[in-house]
Symmetry: D2
Subunit: 217 residues, 4 copies
C-alpha cells in the first residue's frame, strides 16, 4: 500500500493506517506492505510489525548530498525495502539499475514500477526483487488495470517471465474493488499495488480486509 502524499496518510494518520493494515495481516495472514512518506518511516516502523517500504531512495552512497534519501538512513529508520521508479517519481535508467544494485548490497527489497509491458521486461532484465506494472493513465481513476486491460497484464507477465523466471510480479492502477485483487492474481501476478483506493476510503480497514479476503479466493 503506497501512502503517497495524501493528508489522510501523513503523520499520525499514517500510523493509524499502518495499524489497520497490521490488523488485517494478523486476521487474515495476507502479506501487506506499507510505504509511507520518508518522515513517517521511523515512527511507523516502531508502531507496527508488518514490513515498511520507502517510496523512493536515491542512488547515492553516504557523502555530500543535500535533500537526498540514503539507503542507510531508511534502513536505520526501519524500512526493509523501497519502491523505485514509480510513475510519479520516475528515474533515469542508470539510476534505477544503481538503486537495485544498492538494495542488493544493503539487503533491502527492491520493487521497481513500470508503465507498460515493454518497460516491465526491461526492468525485469535488471533483476530487482519485484516489478510492478502500472499504466499511469489508470492511476487514481478507480478503473482497475485488471478489468480495463486484462490482456495487457497477461502480456506483461509473459514478457517479464521471458527475461526473468524468478521475479515477483505485481500490478496496480485503479484497484478499488476486492474483485480487482482476485482478478489480478488470476492474471498471473502475485499481488497488487494500491493507494487512493484505500487511503481515501472512509474506512480503510474494511477495504483492506476485503482485499485481503479476495486473495484467498
Amino acid at each position: 500500500m503506497n501512502f503517497k502524499t495524501y493528508l489522510e496518510s501523513t503523520g499520525k494518520k499514517a500510523v493509524e493506517l499502518a495499524k489497520a493494515a497490521e490488523k488485517v495481516t494478523k486476521e487474515t495472514g495476507a502479506s501487506i506492505v506499507v510505504a509511507p512518506q520518508f518522515v513517517d518511516i521511523a515512527r511507523i516502523a516502531k508502531a507496527v510489525e508488518i514490513p515498511v517500504f520507502a517510496q523512493h531512495v536515491d542512488p547515492i552512497k553516504p557523502g555530500s548530498y543535500t535533500g537526498h534519501v540514503l539507503a542507510e538512513a531508511i534502513k536505520e529508520a526501519g524500512a526493509v525495502g523501497t519502491l523505485i521508479n514509480h510513475s510519479e517519481r520516475q528515474l533515469k535508467l542508470s539510476e534505477i539499475e544503481a538503486i537495485i544494485s544498492l538494495c542488493r548490497d544493503k539487503d533491502l527489497v527492491s520493487c521497481v514500477c513500470a508503465n507498460n509491458p515493454s518497460v516491465s521486461a526491461s526492468v525485469a532484465a535488471m533483476r530487482p526483487d519485484i516489478v510492478s506494472f502500472e499504466p499511469p493513465e489508470l492511476i487514481g481513476t478507480g478503473v482497475a488495470v485488471s478489468k480495463a486491460q486484462p490482456e495487457v497484464v497477461t502480456n506483461t507477465v509473459k514478457l517479464v517471465r521471458r527475461v526473468n523466471a524468478d521475479i515477483t510480479i505485481l500490478c496496480g492502477a485503479g484497484i478499488s474493488q476486492s474483485e480487482d485483487v482476485a482478478t489480478s492474481l488470476k492474471l498471473g501476478t502475485s499481488g497488487v499495488l494500491v493507494a487512493s483506493g484505500i487511503v481515501k476510503a472512509k474506512d480503510p480497514y474494511i477495504i483492506l480486509r476485503a482485499f485481503a479476503d479476495a486473495t484467498k479466493l
Copy 2:
C-alpha cells in the same frame, strides 16, 4: 548546520549531533539550526529544542505524489523551515518560487541557496526569509568562501540588498575555522551554512562551540 547524507549524521548519530548543537546554543546563546535527513527529522525534533529544518521540500500540495516530500509532513514531524535549492539539490526557477510561496502559507522558514552573486540577487527578488550564498566549487574543500572570495561575498550582499532590504543573508562553503565565521559576519552576512566542517570533525561539539564563540567577536 546541514547534516547532508553523511553516515556521521544519520540516525542515532544525527540525534547526538543535534544534541551537541543544542548544548552549544544553551551555553553561548548562539542561534544554531540543524538540517537532518528527512527520515531523521521527527526524532531529532523530539530530542532537542533548537530549530530543525528539512534539507528540501517539494513544491506540491497533498495528493497523488510518490516519493515526494510534503510541507505538511515535515511540519508535522517538527521542522520549522527548510533549505531550498542547495547546490546539491538544485531546482527549476518556478519550483523555487512555488516552494517559497508554500513556506509562507505553511509558516515555514524558507532558506534558498544560490551559487553566485547574480543568482543570489535573483533569489532575493522572490522574497524568501533567507538567502544563502555558496560557491559550489568551494563546498567541502575546507577553503572558506570568506577567505577565498571576500569581495564576492561583499558583492553578493550589495546586489542582494539592492533588490531586498529585509532578507537575511548567509554564506557558506568551506567554512572550517572559527575565524571564517567571524570574517563572514564582518563581510555583511548574518551567519554561515556549514556541513562537513562540523559533521566530519572528530569532536563536533568543540568546533561548534568555537564557531559560536566566534560570532561574539
Copy 3:
C-alpha cells in the same frame, strides 16, 4: 513568434512561415523574431533577413556533451538570440543564469520566460536582455493574458522595473486577437510572445499582419 514543435512550423513549412513574417516586417516595419526548431535554424536564417532565435540553448562550453545545444552552434547556424526557460522547457535557476552569462559573452540576445510576477522579477535581477511573462495555464488557450489577467501584467511590469530599469518586457500566452497585442502594449510591455495563435492559423500572414498593425494603434 515561437514555432514550437508543430508540424505546421517544421522543415519547409517553417521556412514559409518565416517568409510570411519577413513580408509583414517589410510591409509594416514591425519587429518580428522567429524561433524555429534547432534543425531548422540554418535554412531559415539563410532564407530570411529578420532575426532568428533558438528556442533553447544549453549552459555548456564546447566539449564532451551529447545531444546538447551549443551557443556557438546556433550562432554559426545564424541565430542571433535564444529563448530561455520557456514553461515547456524549464531550467534550474543556476542554469538560467549561466545561459544569460553565456549569451552576453557570445553576443546573443537572451529572452528569459517567467510564469508569474515574482519569477519575472527574479529573472530581471539576473539582467538578461528580455523577460517574457507567460502564465502557463493560458498558453495555447486563445484566452489572452492581457485580457484575462491585465492587473497581473501591470504588476509584473511594476515588480520587474523595481529591480531592473532597462530590461525589455514581453508578455504572452493565449494571444490570438490583434486587440490582445494592442492591450499588451498599453499594459506596459514592449511586445508579445506568440505561437499557436499564428502557427495554427489558416493563413498565418493575415494574423501576423493584423498583429503588426495593432502595434501601431
Copy 4:
C-alpha cells in the same frame, strides 16, 4: 561517430568531418554513421551520402513543446536514426521506451546507449535496433573499453543475447587505436562508438581510415 559539441565538429568543420567519413566509406566499404549536433544535421545530410544520426530526440509528438527535438523534424532534415540515452544525455526509462517506439513508427534507426552490462540487457529487452555499451568512466580517456574491460564487454554481449537474439551490439569509450576497433569486434560486438578519438585528432581522415581498415582484420 558522435560529433558531440566540440568546436572541431560544429558548423563548417562538421561538414568537413562528415566528408572525411564519407571518403573512408567509399574507399573501404566500412559502414560509418555520423551524429552531428541538431543544427548541423540538415547541411551534413545534404553534403554526404553516408547515414546521419541525431544525438538525441525527444519522446514527443508534434505539438506545443518548446526547445524540444521532434522525430519528424530530424527526419525531414535528413537524419535516418538517432542516439538515445547517451551517458551525457541520460533519460528516464519510460522516455527511452517511448523514443524506441517512436523510431519504429517513423522508420528511424534507434541506437540506445547503456553504461554497464545489466543496463545493456535492460535496453535490449525493449528491442531497439542497436544497443551501445559505454562505461562512462572511460569516455574521453583514450583508454579503450575493449582493452581495459574485455571481460565486461564479453559479459555484456552474453547478457544482451540472452534477452535479444537479433539486436546489433556496439561498444565504445576510450576507443583511440585501430587495434581497439579490431579487439571490440573480436569480443563479439558489431562496431564501435567513437567521438574525441577522431574529432580531436590532427587528421581525422587518417584515424578513420585506420579504424575502417581494422574492421577487415
